[in-house]
Symmetry: C2
């Protein structure tokens, strides 16, 4: 069970967080997490934004790999890709974990 577990440097994960740091983009993700691919106009309805505005946001999400798009016919179908989200989650996991470990050690008076 050699889990290679290759380490991702923080410099790589920052853009993912940046992409998630916008309420419009989070809402778009929320609309995509049901697994159904949707077009831009579908994703745009309900927002007080132009189609191009939504399109820009989708391209930001796509650039960091959180969503993927495929041109089918005259419309672009967008789909969520959870792998980067999983990366971000496990990064936060590691931070919390190390924090907990540090607290534990402090409480046990193991250091200093």
């Amino acid at each position: 069970m050699s889990r290679a577990r290759l380490k991702r440097r923080p410099v790589d994960i920052a853009p993912v967080f940046a992409a998630l740091g916008d309420r419009v983009r989070l809402s778009l993700l929320s609309r995509l997490k049901d697994g159904k691919p949707q077009s831009i106009v579908q994703l745009a309805e309900g927002f007080e934004l132009t189609r191009q505005g939504v399109s820009k946001h989708l391209r930001v999400l796509e650039q960091v790999g959180v969503v993927t798009s495929e041109r089918v016919g005259r419309e672009s179908q967008f789909l969520l890709d959870p792998s980067r989200i999983h990366d971000a989650r496990s990064y936060l996991d590691r931070v919390s974990e190390q924090w907990d470990d540090a607290l534990m050690r402090l409480k046990m008076h193991v250091e200093r």
Copy 2:
């Protein structure tokens, strides 16, 4: 002990992700996750930034509640607060979870 478990709307968690979406700030968090409070000059060394630059980043992190600061003597001690990080993590958890559920339902042909 009625744990109200009040639900955080996505609109609230976006600023946390935005604060995490910067490599400098992620590095600062990485320096703070050992549980030891550190001053600004301590946190600033190693960066190719001014002290004020680092100070601005720290204030961004503090504003969203990821770190806390306390003035002790002539220096400000910064400490990590993992609660917001935990919030962000569980938000991503929910996204992944709903994605997995949706995939499962699709695979079982329960819908469509």
